[in-house]
């Protein structure tokens, strides 16, 4: 029981740092290793850690299963929509250069947006998959 307490407190302490790390990986991906996919996995790992220590119901109170399910198509939709907007603006699908009047800045914006899309889908998927495995019971 004592060990359990240590686990719980350590987890609580560590969680904000994991989240910060995920965000760092997400937004620093332009300059260092990392990007949407890695950040998504780290975010999901945070939820999974929480679920392992505090139990599935507690985790689902913080991140409802419905939210995770919603995030799965949402992220991909963000990604594809960026492409479609580029199309509407007269460029090829996923040509970010047309997003802003200045090509390279358009590229930066496009990359930022699609990485967010990847993050949302990956985090949602991994969390939802874990929920459905763990919620299966014996």
């Amino acid at each position: 029981m004592k060990l359990d307490l240590i686990f719980r407190i350590t987890t609580k302490l560590i969680l904000p740092f994991i989240l910060m790390f995920a965000l760092y990986v997400q937004f620093h991906g332009d300059y260092g290793p990392g990007g949407g996919f890695q950040a998504g996995v780290i975010t999901a790992a945070m939820v999974i850690l929480y679920a392992i220590i505090f139990g599935l119901p507690a985790a689902q109170k913080v991140v409802p299963a419905r939210l995770a399910e919603l995030m799965i198509p949402l992220g991909a939709l963000i990604y594809a929509s960026v492409g479609a907007v580029a199309m509407l603006l007269g460029g090829e699908f996923l040509n970010y250069s047309v997003l802003l009047s200045d090509g390279p800045h358009g590229q930066e914006l496009g990359i930022l947006l699609v990485e967010i899309g990847v993050l949302v889908t990956v985090a949602g998927t991994m969390t939802a998959i874990f929920y459905s495995f763990a919620g299966r019971g014996r």
Partner: protein, 121 residues
């Protein structure tokens, strides 16, 4: 240096081939469904080495541009393998979900115990 790189190049290939083949062997030879999936991911993982070894330049640095470095390893295989990792884990998740369902329906995850089960409609 030349001799060294010669050895390294061969060693790389041999290990890659060994990993690949043993992964494949596990998939084909084993009847346990979870173990098959482990083998499958070993098999897929070994492919990373096949792509990334030729991408490396001796003396190069990771492809993050910086005025202090001039030689970078090839970034394209990295991108391809990121995609491959994602595909691998997606396949794994789906395979595991099927295993869970099969276990519920048949009560076992050994192929040898399932195939004799005859159920005609």
């Amino acid at each position: 240096m030349a001799v060294f790189s010669e050895i390294v190049s061969h060693y790389n290939h041999w290990i890659t081939i060994f990993l690949m083949v043993s992964g494949l062997y596990i998939v084909v030879a084993r009847g346990n469904m979870v173990k098959k999936l482990v083998g499958l991911s070993l098999f897929q993982t070994s492919v990373y080495l096949l792509y990334l070894s030729p991408g490396k330049i001796l003396g190069g640095t990771p492809p993050i541009l910086d005025p202090n470095f001039a030689v970078y390893s090839n970034p394209l295989p990295h991108v391809l393998m990121l995609t491959a990792i994602v595909v691998g884990v997606a396949t794994l998740a789906l395979g595991l979900a099927l295993v869970v369902r099969i276990n519920e329906e048949y009560g076992t995850i050994e192929e040898d115990e399932i195939f004799p089960v005859k159920d005609d409609e």
